[in-house]
Structures are given as C-alpha cells and as structure tokens.
Symmetry: D2
Subunit: 293 residues, 4 copies
C-alpha cells in the first residue's frame, strides 16, 4: 500500500513584461521583464487519487491572475508583487494552504533620449521567492543568479591535504573566477519596511566590492566573505546562501614552443568545475522553516 | 555577528567514459558514459573563516579518485560506483563526515557487428545519488530525467474551481505530454541485494506502461499512478518523487480559414507550462533523513 | 550612398504537432512533431526603404498557412509538406519570387497497445529544406542532425605533419566519436518519385552501418565514406554535405595512482573540438544553385 | 562514382583568456576572453580518400598556435589576432591554401580599484572572422551577436497584404524587440589603418542610437536603417548583414477580468518568431568573394 506525500503544482515560467508608461524619472517608461512561477499546496488528495479536481485551481487561472495583478499593481518591485500574489491564492481558495511565488527579473538599461528604448542588461538575473503558508506564515528570499566575476590575481590555494590521489600543485597566484549565485533571506518582521530596489542594488554592489576587495585563500573563504558582507550591508537579511562554481582557468604550457607563460595565457575549462556551497547566518537568525523549499 | 551555516563543496560534472573492453555479451565492449559530481561536508570552518585549507581535500583530488575508482571497479552500475565512492571520502579524510555522489548516465545502443560501435540513446538520462553520513548512514536515490511521453487522447481535465480569473474551458479530450522526471528512494536495507541494472530497466518500462495505460483526469492523477506503479513493480523502493511539466499542446483555431480542427493540428507551446510535483510513499517508509538533500 | 542587398524574411520555429487520428498501422495515431520555418524573398525594397508594407505578407499569415496546410495534407512526410508549401507563397503573392521552407522533425516511438501513446526518440533530428524560386526552380535538401556515434576502437591518427606547434602524439588506437550532421541534396528530377520515408530510414541506417563498418585513419576519411555510402545507397541523392565535430575522448593518466589505463578510462572533453566539414558529390551532379542558401 | 567537394577542417571553440598584466590604463590588467575557431582548406584529398594525413596539420597543432600567438602578440584586438593567424597557416603549410579564423569576444567590466577585478558584461558578443586565401586574398568581417533591444512604442505595422490566411490586426503602436545580430565587412584596403577597438565601439553605439532613434513601420525598415547608419558611421565598412529576430510581445487580454490593458501587460513569447535578414551595401562595394563563407 502506498500514500501520497508532499506535493504542489502551479504554472512555471510565465514570461511577462509589464510596461509602466511614463512611470519613470522624467516621464520615461519603466520595464519589468519577469519570469514568474507559481506553486500551490493544500488539500489535493482528490485530484491525485480519484481525479476529482474540485480543489485544483487551474494553472491557467494562476497565470491569468499574474497578468491581472500586474495590471493592478503597476511596475512594482518583484518582492512587492510576490508578497501580494501568494496570499491571494490561499485566501481565495480554501483548500489551498500554501502558495509559492518565484520571480526572475531581467534587467534593461535605457538607451536614447526618448524614454522608451532599452537594451537588455545581460549581466545577471535578479530573483525573489515568497512562500506564504496559512500556518507557518510568510518567508521572503531574494537573490542574484549568474553574476560572473573574475580576479586575475589575489588568489592562492595551498595547504590542502595530500591524499594518494592528489596531484594538484599548490599555488600562490591563480585566477579566481565564479558565477555568483546568492540568495538572501529577510527577517520576517522586515517585509513592510524594506526598500526592495535599494536592497537589491546594495546587495549587488556589496558582492562586487567584496569580490574585488577580498584576498582569497580558497573559494570557501570568498563565500563566507560574501555572505558576511551582505548581512553587514543589509541588516534586514538574516541568512545568505551561496553556490559558487569555481570556473577553472588553467595556465597553458607554452614551454614546448620555446615560450614562457607568466600568468598570461589561460584555457577556460567548461567541465568539471569546483562547486562551493554554503550558508552564512546572522546571529539569532530565526529558523528557516519553509523559506528554502 | 554572523556564523557559518550548512556547507559542502566538491567537483561537479566530471565527464567520464569508462570502456569495459570485451566485458559485454559476446565479447563486445561495454560503455559507461557518466557525468559525476562529488560533494563533501564536515569540519570546514577553517577554510571559510581563516583560509586554513588543511581539511579541504582538493576537488581535483576528488576528480582523480573518480577516475581511479572507475579503473578499479570496471564498468559497474552507477549505484555500485556511488556506494563505493562516498564512504571512501569519509573514511580516508577524518574531517569529512558526509559525502554525496551523484551520477548522470547517458545510454548508448550497440550498432554494427563489431562489438565496439555505438549510437547514443538520447531518450532519457539515468540518475543516481548516494549520500553517506558517518552518523546518519547511507541513502540511495535513483531515477530518470527527461523521459518525454505523450498520449494523444485518453486525457480529460474538468471539474476544477472557477474563480474570477478562470477562462480555461473544460475538456474531455486533450493531449497529455510531459517529461517524466522521477527519482526513487530505496529502503536502506536493500542496497546489498538489488540488481541495479534490472531495477532501472524495470522502472523505465513501468513508467512507459503506466503512462500509456492510465486514463487521466489530471496530471496529478498520472503522477500518483506513476509513483504507485513504481513502488509496486520494485518492492525495494520506499518513495518516489516526481516532477512532471505539463507540456501544453494547444489546438489551433482553423475556423478563420474555413477548416475544422478535430484534434489534428496543435501548437506545442514552450512557456509557460504547468508543473506538477509530488511524492508517493510506501506504507511504513522510513524517514528520508538526508536522502533528498 | 547605400543600397539594399539580398534579403528575406519569414516565421521561424513554428512548433506544430500534427496528429493523424487512426492514420497509422492498425488504426493507431500518427505523429508529426515539427519545427517549421518559412522565409520569403522578392520585391521587398518598399518595406526596407520607406516602410511601405504592401508586398510584405505578414509572418503571422505564413504561420497560419502552415497550420492550415497541415490540416489539409494530413500527416505527410516533411518533404511532401515543404514541396507543397513553398510554391504556395510564390504563386499567391506576386511580389514574392522565392520561398524557403525548412522543417525539423522530432521522432516518437509508440508505446503501449492503445495506438495513442508515444515516447520521444531523442536520438536525432530529421531535417528538410525546400527552396522554390520562380526562375531557378526547386531544390530539396534533407538530412540528419545530432546522430551521436562512437567507435571505441578501429580508429588511428598518424602521419600528420609536425610543425613547431605539434605536440600531439600519433595514435594507432583511439576512440572516435562524433555527432553526424549530414544533409543530402536530391537530383531535381526525382522529387516526384522518391519515397521520402524510405529514403530517410535508409540514410540513417547507412550512416550507422558505415560508421560502424569503417576502419578510420582520420575523421576526414570517415566523412568521405559516409558521403559516398549515402550516394550509393540512395541514387536519387546527388550531393552530401557533412559537418562532423570530433568529440575528443582523452585517456586519463592514472600512473600517479599506480594504475595503468589501457584504453579504459577517458575524459569526454567539451571544448575545443575538431570540426571536419566536407561535401561528396555524385559524378555529373548538377550545380547546387540556391539549394544550400 | 563520387568525388570530393569543398571541404575544410579545424579546431572549434578554443576558450582562451589572455591576461595583459598591467597593460591597461593606470597599470590595470587587460582581459581578452575569446572563443577561437580555426578552419583550413587546401590539398586534403589524400586524407579523405586514402587516410594519408601528410597534409593534415593536426587541429591540436592549430590550437597550440592560437595559444602561442596570444602570448607573442599580447592582448590585442581580435581583428589584429585573426589577421596575423590566418596567413600563418597558409604560409607555413604548403598544402593549405586557405585559412579561416573566427573569434567571439566576451566583454568584462572592471570592478574595484585594484585593477585586477572584473565582472562579465553579458550584453552582447563581439565577433570577427578573417579568411585568407592564397589566391583570393584576405577578407575581414566583424560584428555583434545578441545585442537585445526593445522600443516600448514608436513602432507600427500595417498596410500589409490580406491573404486568406491573414488574421493579424494592423497596429499603430506595438513593442518592437529584437536581438541584433549584425556583421560588417570592411573594404579590403582598410585593414592596415582601422582602429579596431574604436570601430567596434562606434558600431555598437550606432546600433543603439539608431534603434532608439528610428520610428519604425516594419522590422525590415529598422534593418535597413541599422545597416545604413553603420556604413555612414564607419566609412571603412562596405557591407552590413543583419539577422533580426522579431521577439513578439503580445498584449494580454484582460477584459475577462474587468480590466483594460492599454499597452501595459505583455506576454513575451518564445516561438515562433519573425526573422528578418538582409544586407546593406555601400555603393561600389567590392564583390564579397569568400568573406561570408
């Protein structure tokens, strides 16, 4: 005999662009270019076990609500949107006890003088995830994906254990390159007073400054430095989780061609890559509960 | 003040091909085409906080061990490989208390009569993940990624709630298409006696048979049918988790061109898509502990 | 001063699934899963120079015609569809003198006994491109993309020149792996009598047989063998063009770990890769004219 | 009987990073992050027909030369690199009569004050392709890939023909979004005097300015405007080829929810998309010869 375990369902990757006509400085347009995903949980056993869909708000209806809410709210920050959307589902659908809203935002930079022309900023993806549970309350995690950075020096790696499979030489000077994937959880009592746009901008700048300003003995050390700096820079954050791929740049051996290679010519390898994952917590950070699910 | 939270590190996406020379039926070669990722946890605070790497077995050393073990074990099933590799790290490195080994396997079909020619089977990815923790013991989860299936009929969706954002018409006959992403957890006491190759083949066939044989009122119902069938077919499985994207096929309106369209011409849409996720558990299934982390 | 040069426009990547209800053997459904692209050329200077769109059949209209024609023709072979579609545009739109129709077909294998369940065959993409020009006539090129094959032995590479940058050792036994991308052009007078389904199946099997059956001294040699075999197997073909990436599999040096590695453990590298491109022509093959544009 | 047709071979996607230590302003490092592909043609019949590789400079040797030349030349512009590399192959290998060198460059922006920290600029890819043929001479084409831009207004599309498959309504105000893929060919006698870095920067800015400054009645019109502006801005250019996907943004119908939608909420569709391709030539532009092959 079997039983139904945890489950959820929703609409993934709703590619919505919200134009705020004249909503920007000087009357320029504002762009919100989003990839929105919704996911609902609750009393859904009927649908799984007998095909009774009376509790299953169609994913198409979820999508429609996303579009309608965007009209109603205007070109707001993604956190504000997700905080408004998640409770809508639980409050309007009695069998739904938990809603998850996740948004990826793609940036655009204004071009020209007309106020309506933009070029996509391809340098990173801004993210936010809100989970609202009728019992456990609301969590909010924002972040950055794929902020690719490199230090051409200022990185060492040595002092590691030498097991029988260790052939890596120690180095006092290597390239350190990674794609910063960082997510930060906010203290629950702060949602009403955070300036989300400011917080994201400050987080991005803090990551760039910390990466550039940290002399590194390991990517783990860089990870902890990034997490610590984010919590210091934005006190409303209680936890940071990071996943840092170590994008290896191997020095090319030019000796066979009669050339030296003093940290000048590198091969950027695709795979395999190191992957460093970790969390940094503010002291007394509350339990994460559902925030990372 | 901040503190270090959960963390792990390792080498991701080691693209290894192990050729078993003459190891197959009739003396043909056997291919194991893998993408291996390792991840270690333990006493790693020094590396994060002070750059002291004395506990950090280099990810390069982890990669080397993967290659060496493949030589030693021969072209074994991925589960056998992962079960051998994970404890190696914890037993040989005192500060390491937990190791995670994850393998994606790409299939190849023999061609020709020579026993050494193959064509890649692009229809799915076989997966396995072993986590060995010195305290919590060992877990093993295997699975399938991207097994894409379609029923051109035999699927309904109706009886769902109509909220103010519901415009989706009910349907008694639609295309049901999905990419089956399924993972199954084995009972811990079974690792020594499961025939991994048999189990994978039976799981794949069970998925195909169940998908083809289930009249569906919702993708949730299909999810539960798939999970139940897998547990019934392979008693060593205690839990199945599935993620089923609903690959929408929209009927094209041909009326403007004076043509009817009785379930013949469809637009296969990319995004957004429904996403149905859920778990099915055998009765008395043990707690998952670290298995899904 | 500037002038307008060659130009064309159309709708790309129309993802259409055509279900032939009961059209298959034993009354099973037939699936045509296509990615269709159209492109038109002709008297389009007005649109480019002055924004006069009176000659510009909307790409949306082109898309609609694709859907409508699929309804009308039924689940035909992609070549038959493209041969019907391309002249439609030139004959119905006077300013349009040339039409290009390109189709990628994704294969599906039947599963179950119901006749309406399928699993996607992910092993290759079938392609066809028809160009119809009111002056130059009609060309037809079909092909295969991404048929990935590997010989674990039976491949040598030696005797190459040694310039000052050559460090590659000669080898008498290496893995040869590639993704066959082949396109074959048909003699213009054959379109009316080729069994397109047969031709594609025979081409695929010929590629597999030839790859498995050819002892190789270079990937160039394999390319010529593949092209020659296709022309021999399907006399209606007058030219074959191939692009063969050399998917390098590097033997891993296990000596530091006290292990030999007699062609057993390989690293499958992503980039860079060799890329071998070439054409094989039947004697007296007609000029390609627009066929490859 | 069959014969060998046109052919070429080389190493594709050499991912090289060249660090110019202290070579930048104020002693900062300079980064050249490249994806280099080489391709050689000539007397290669032996390799294809008999496996005689005596004329086949190994693709591995080509790769080594790329690395070595990068050391020797320093962090030069990609055009300068390609112009130096291509003739090397034809002059050092007698059987090789033609060489093609293609480079994709990924941009990086400096961060921090140290002069050695960078963040990847993900907004476009800079490209260049040099073809050197011992008979036909040298051609050079540079360009941009994936410069994604959007006008939220200032775009109309109407006056197009209405065939029986036309359902698209005319519009006097739509979003116009595209990914600019542009390549520009230089007059052959200019290679020695073009400032490649200046030319690329001016081309990019010209594209942005022209896109923002052009009121559009069709994407074809925008294409011609872009090509014309590039030739006007950089007189050393004799031809521009553009491929502009029309990234459709569909207005969402919010009427069922009692909401109007005056150009505010859009669905950004993936596929299908319009694709507009065309060339703009300077008067008296020389024949392209091999430049676009």
């Amino acid at each position: 005999m079997v039983q139904l375990g945890v489950n959820r369902y929703g609409k993934a990757e709703i590619r919505m662009v919200r134009v705020g006509r004249g909503a920007g400085s000087g009357g320029s347009d504002v762009l919100r270019d989003w990839n929105v995903s919704t996911s609902l949980s609750g009393d859904l056993a009927g649908s799984h076990l007998t095909g009774d869909n009376s509790n299953v708000l169609a994913t198409d209806s979820q999508k429609n609500k996303v579009y309608a809410l965007a009209k109603e709210l205007g070109p707001v920050e993604p956190e504000a949107f997700a905080l408004a959307l998640a409770p809508f589902f639980t409050s309007s659908q009695a069998p739904i006890s938990r809603a998850r809203v996740s948004i990826d935002e793609y940036g655009w930079n204004p071009i020209g003088a007309g106020g309506y022309s933009f070029a996509r900023a391809g340098d990173l993806v801004r993210t936010t995830t809100v989970i609202h549970d009728v019992d456990a309350g609301t969590s909010l995690v924002s972040g950055i994906k794929d902020l690719i950075v490199m230090n051409t020096t200022g990185s060492e790696f040595w002092g590691f254990p030498k097991d029988p499979y260790t052939t890596l030489p120690e180095t006092k000077d290597r390239i350190l390159a990674t794609a910063v994937n960082a997510s930060w959880r906010f203290w629950p009592d702060t949602f009403g007073r955070v300036d989300w746009g400011w917080a994201f901008g400050r987080a991005k700048q803090t990551i760039l400054d910390t990466f550039a300003g940290t002399y590194s003995y390991s990517l783990q050390q860089m990870l902890f430095a990034l997490g610590s700096a984010l919590i210091a820079a934005i006190p409303e954050i209680c936890e940071v989780r990071l996943a840092l791929p170590n994008r290896h740049h191997f020095i090319v051996d030019l000796a066979p061609f009669g050339l030296d290679n003093d940290r000048e010519v590198y091969h950027a390898d695709d795979r395999p890559y190191g992957l460093i994952e970790g969390s940094v917590l503010a002291d007394f950070a509350p339990d994460a509960s559902l925030a990372w699910t």
